[in-house]
Symmetry: C2
Subunit: 328 residues, 2 copies
Amino acid sequence: MSIRVGIYGYGNLGRGVECALRQNPDMTLAGVFTRRPPETVRTVFDGVPVYHADMAPSMRDDIDVMVICGGSATDLPVQTPMLAQYFHVVDSFDTHARIPEHFAAVDAAAKASGKVGLISVGWDPGMFSLNRLYAEALLPDGKDYTFWGKGVSQGHSDAIRRIEGVADAKQYTIPVEAALEAVRSGAEPQLSARQKHLRECFVVLKDGADAASVEQQIKTMPNYFADYDTTVHFISAEELAREHSGIPHGGFVIRTGRTGKSLENRHLIEYRLNLDSNPEFTASVLVAYARAAYRMGLEGMSGCKTVLDVPPAYLSPKSGEDLRGRLL
Amino acid sequence: MSIRVGIYGYGNLGRGVECALRQNPDMTLAGVFTRRPPETVRTVFDGVPVYHADMAPSMRDDIDVMVICGGSATDLPVQTPMLAQYFHVVDSFDTHARIPEHFAAVDAAAKASGKVGLISVGWDPGMFSLNRLYAEALLPDGKDYTFWGKGVSQGHSDAIRRIEGVADAKQYTIPVEAALEAVRSGAEPQLSARQKHLRECFVVLKDGADAASVEQQIKTMPNYFADYDTTVHFISAEELAREHSGIPHGGFVIRTGRTGKSLENRHLIEYRLNLDSNPEFTASVLVAYARAAYRMGLEGMSGCKTVLDVPPAYLSPKSGEDLRGRLL
């Protein structure tokens, strides 16, 4: 029997989930839920039922897992606990400081309904968190580092767009190669924000805007740019559309550590992602964890969980025998 | 309360487990079990109790988890099911073709005793298996590749030592850089054994041995060397001892795959290990999974499991709150 999945919230991430479900034949897309008028929403593939978000609770018997594709700032803190009353739920909540609060709210709702709520699923938080955990558990005497990029930071791009005189902008976060090498050497360096990442900005100016002033405002912007080496390129709207329309991202989780009688032996564990499409990869992670949520539910589990709690085999549609035979 | 761990079998791997336990303060080494006369065994650290292997069953109340450090060929198929009658057990069984049989034997014994038996724990099988699983589940349309090295292959070194005229030898398996790059490109190349790995041999000849004949015998040895580009260096016993006494290893698990409406976006997932000491790192993995076996046992689980079944958080001594706060 196919796992019936709903998509709640339909932006880039929701579209990615729609695509990812096509790659997982054990799952069926039961419907897309949106706050917009459903008839105005055009799905990636034809024939996908689109419902108003308010309809979701009435479909509790038609959907096994709801993948919630709202934003972390205001959507998910409300939506995930609300929907966990009716469905197993998976979200990509990524406001780090508020995870304990979100965990508690989803846990209460999911325990009351007997459902599984998987939060903070994606690649960071998500796969990167998992790799930090595994590496720390295997090499307790060591140090780990996370680098992001090369990739587009939506938050930094938005910050540039808010500057007067800027028509559009895209910001890439880029790990510093020398910092990666220093970390891989096992030297356990202390690295400042500036030493770890570069920021490269592609900016389209409005007519008559002062380039020098815009560049100065970007480079001195507190938190976002002031602590980094930042490069600003002014380009045309056409070039921005042609060369910078993608949403690539990725990064590295690296841990070095020591073992042995006198901790004389060094080890390196490195996990790397290089993603053409940040939302589509995040969506792929959400879909694999939707399968896991369904399975954990079948086994009678309930409450809030994270990627750190999920047995890896639950992510795969394959049997234990098959996985042991091919992958072990 | 500390988790009481026994080490059954005391070679390089057992010594690695002894060292790793020192790095994990929530665990205590309860004793080393050996088939040799216990008084002849010298442990890495002073004060470790050494018992004859036959004593193990009588210590069922003194040990929570037995880490079994025997060989896969003849030791583990007997030892792991036998010891699973008395303890939670962890082994590094790595004879791939016999895993189903070993799984069944350990499962029967561990279910009967109510214990947890974790088999095939290490880095391959082990962490590499996990990374193949995660990557395949996240990117169903794709292909994965495992490369080993640069590292010492014990089996290949032994094969050289069996040639007449060879006093000693060390063989390094080395991934071909061009193959790594071809895989990372996302081209999903078909690669032969020769295209993926090089073999480099350091050989000490006995007095009067014929170097040309030894080199020829190595390079044409079926299965071991004939299908690879192999380099042979003849060196002195002193140089072998000085430059090649370590047991480094490592490798790469790389998967590339595609997502999107027409599978137009490419993604790369790469996991890499670079290890100064193969047995010490394997031992570190065994110790983290010994903790997991103990925890799973506390939760009432029993039977045979592999790394694919273990919730990641069980590997860590830290609380769920702490892990979510620091690592998520």
